[in-house]
């Protein structure tokens, strides 16, 4: 018999009963190892804890007399909870039953969506938390009053804007670096696979 790859395959798998099936343990309760499913699982778990943290934040700051700050922090966290929930819903059904090309594209879109949503959240959310938070905390202090007397309103405005841009930039930078570490390889691999598929479609 000629040793074509087809013949090697057929001969090699002639006795398929000899194939050793790996031991499957607790299949129906197993957590998925797919990156996207891991992210979904972590997000869903973390998102629930945001609600508890919001309640804790509101109570603690109210008890120490910072009711407004407590309420502000709490509403921001609740808003974050709903935003995350919406994002999770969008990620719910990545169709693993689709053909490979469609699935890989959907998978890449999903990961990019997570990155975009978190970047936006940090870009806008970070200054929104930090600046009003500082103001609410220090607004009745002597240090704040004396500082207000010394600084021109326009300068104050420009200073706050510059500070907001700086912390927004820092937030995004830190996130981008972390993302590159966590998703970098996976995204590169997905890009290569999709490019290869697109090359195949051009053949």
């Amino acid at each position: 018999m000629e040793k074509s790859i087809e013949n090697i395959w057929i001969k090699g798998f002639m006795n398929t009963e000899k194939l050793q099936i790996p031991k499957v343990v607790n299949l129906y309760n197993k957590k998925s190892d797919l990156l996207l499913e891991k992210i979904k699982h972590t997000y869903s778990k973390d998102n629930k804890s945001v609600l508890y943290i919001a309640a804790f934040f509101g109570i603690i700051f109210s008890l120490f007399g910072y009711i407004l700050l407590g309420l502000y922090g709490m509403s921001l966290m609740i808003a974050m909870y709903f935003l995350n929930k919406k994002m999770l819903k969008n990620l719910e059904n990545i169709p693993i039953i689709n053909d490979n090309y469609q699935y890989l594209k959907a998978y890449r879109i999903a990961i990019k969506k997570i990155i975009a949503a978190t970047t936006k959240l940090l870009g806008f959310g970070f200054p929104l938390v930090v600046i009003p938070g500082y103001w609410l905390f220090f607004r009745n202090t002597e240090m704040y009053t004396s500082m207000m007397d010394k600084i021109e309103p326009l300068n104050l405005f420009l200073g706050v804007v510059a500070f907001a841009i700086l912390i927004s930039f820092l937030g995004i930078l830190i996130y981008k670096l972390t993302t590159k570490l966590v998703y970098g390889n996976q995204l590169q691999r997905l890009n290569d696979l999709i490019n290869d598929m697109e090359e195949l479609n051009k053949d």
Partner: protein
């Protein structure tokens, strides 16, 4: 349908009827004497194990260690189980398994392990492919692993005797593109295996 459920005398989660083949998914089956019904204690035994050869052959081509292979196999089984309700019998059950297993293999991240990189496929075959008794098959697997991930999928589906149309439907391209690519891959494999096969 109700009579079937009671006949199974079990908690029937889902039943797929297709021609003479009935895949009945149960968790607590007490009566196994039903005619024409592939019944067992769980979905894995009835619907995955008979097709486990497909999953093993694909997962082997995408992994370099026994640990990764077992992880990929389990993940493929998990995803097949999780997506079972979407199966409507429009394609063959085996096509469904190919598609889900390949999607898992193309997106699952391998565990990092330290190892030297070797271009010599005979060495790699000896290192990684102790799984098969047939030496030529081990060499063929080592050569297949040298291909791009998409080419691996195409050649595995071809070797499993799927038609160009079926391969195109699983991969997501046209049958003509598949035919062209298979010829190219076979030439590549021939070059890789040249002089290595006895």
């Amino acid at each position: 349908m109700e009579s079937w459920k009671s006949a199974c005398n079990s908690q029937v989660v889902s039943i797929y009827l297709k021609k003479n083949k009935i895949l009945c998914n149960t968790f607590e089956n007490q009566n196994t004497n039903q005619e024409n019904i592939i019944l067992s204690n769980d979905f894995y035994t009835t619907s995955i194990v008979p097709h486990s050869g497909i999953i093993i052959k694909i997962c082997r081509a995408y992994t370099d260690s026994q640990e990764d292979f077992e992880d990929f196999y389990q993940e493929a089984c998990l995803q097949i189980w999780k997506s079972r309700n979407a199966f409507q019998g429009k394609s063959k059950w085996s096509t469904w398994i190919y598609r889900v297993t390949l999607n898992v293999c193309l997106t699952l991240v391998k565990k990092k392990r330290k190892r030297g990189y070797s271009q010599e496929i005979r060495n790699e075959a000896l290192e990684d492919n102790k799984a098969f008794e047939n030496e030529d098959l081990n060499l063929l697997y080592a050569a297949i692993k040298k291909l791009s991930e998409i080419d691996r999928a195409i050649i595995l589906l071809h070797l499993e005797e799927n038609s160009h149309k079926e391969i195109a439907a699983i991969i997501g391209t046209s049958p003509n593109n598949i035919a062209v690519r298979i010829n190219r891959i076979k030439k590549q494999l021939k070059k890789l295996l040249d002089g290595k096969i006895n």
